[in-house]
Symmetry: C2
Subunit: 224 residues, 2 copies
């Protein structure tokens, strides 16, 4: 039995499978859980509705923050409609064209600025360095450096929790099952093409399907 | 004589005295200088026009990036019209009410994301830890941690240059004179209340006046 902390936590909730699992992880550990999600002009905007619905489902305060800078920068397949999402992992040593430079750094910095107002020090994010994608801002060493930056830059003892950091997709599915998050995954969105039901073809869909298959669990999103 | 690097640099240009001095500093050292400025809903929006005009004056590419997240977070005197800018420095151990948590972290992260697209590694910012204000995200240790975060998070060897970090306002004025930036300071904006001519009363105006006075140089903005 995990003992709940009296402290609060802010969960970066994208509306996807991983961040939703992290929300349930946080609910087990913190008494005052809040979620933030970012409208950064993502092509798969259905995520935003999923995030709001999931937060409402579990009864936590939810804040959607605008972040128009990323689409203004452009040049990536997640916010720029003129660029197709790569259907294959990027070549060795290259970043995928869905890489939005600094995206997770911005998300966590803004989550920290939001948490700062409520005197909350614990931040939770669903990033995983085991992801095929190779986004450098999802790696543990980057987040260690970011945690230090946020502590110094806002004078708060922030802790960035990354419960999925070293889990495979299979293990993330098993974790979701063990903490009662499985049903809620029916409300999540994963598909990079914003399709519902999911396209099943994009790297995000393929990765999700593989995780459920290896865990031997049916994806509740597909049963819905 | 300083030898110019063939490299480029991105200068965070607010349109104020310090960042304009940094722009001239960068022009001496880098061949491809670009400037970015942020529209974050600041009360003193006249800064944005100043930044654009200064960049045009020296003939560098200028990018204004939107950053609506900060005003959405609210709760500070720089973006929230319902909060008066403190006319006194904050009490010992307290942050001034013009502190926008994470503002400089966001500016530099976005500047890095912009620089990333042009394969530029050098970033220049006019922050100074000698400022009365005590903003923790202007200190050298914060920027050291941020530099490491940006390097890891975007896989680029970013260098954050802070030419004014340990200079007093007097020394910054003398530096501006020595690199030919003095005339351009007539185009800058400093006043926290957005007034032009400056209000002369807010902490930013008082600090600027003190610097010119101690340097024994007339502020070209007041002569204009």
């Amino acid at each position: 039995m995990i003992k709940k902390s009296d402290n609060g936590a802010v969960v970066v909730l994208s509306g996807g499978q991983d961040s939703t699992t992290c929300l349930y992880w946080a609910l087990q550990r913190f008494s005052d859980v809040r979620t933030v999600t970012f409208d950064y002009g993502q092509r798969h905007r259905i995520e935003l509705d999923c995030a709001a619905r999931i937060a409402a489902e579990v009864g936590v305060a939810h804040q959607q923050l605008p972040l128009d800078s990323l689409s203004a920068l452009g040049g990536n397949s997640l916010t720029d409609a003129g660029i197709a999402v790569g259907s294959e992992p990027a070549a060795e040593g290259e970043l995928p064209n869905s890489f939005v430079p600094g995206r997770n750094l911005l998300f966590l910095t803004l989550a920290a600025a939001y948490a700062w107002q409520f005197e909350i020090n614990d931040l939770v994010t669903g990033v995983a360095q085991t992801d095929y994608s190779g986004y450098p801002d999802c790696r543990q060493n980057t987040l260690d450096a970011l945690q230090q930056t946020l502590r110094l830059g806002m004078e708060r003892e922030f802790v960035i929790h990354t419960p999925l950091m070293n889990l495979s997709k299979k293990e993330t599915v098993l974790l979701a099952q063990s903490i009662g998050a499985l049903e809620a995954l029916a409300l999540t969105h994963t598909c990079y093409n914003g399709a519902r039901p999911p396209c099943g073809q994009c790297p995000a869909c393929v990765l999700r399907a593989k995780g459920f298959e290896e865990a031997g669990i049916a994806d509740p999103l597909l049963a819905a």
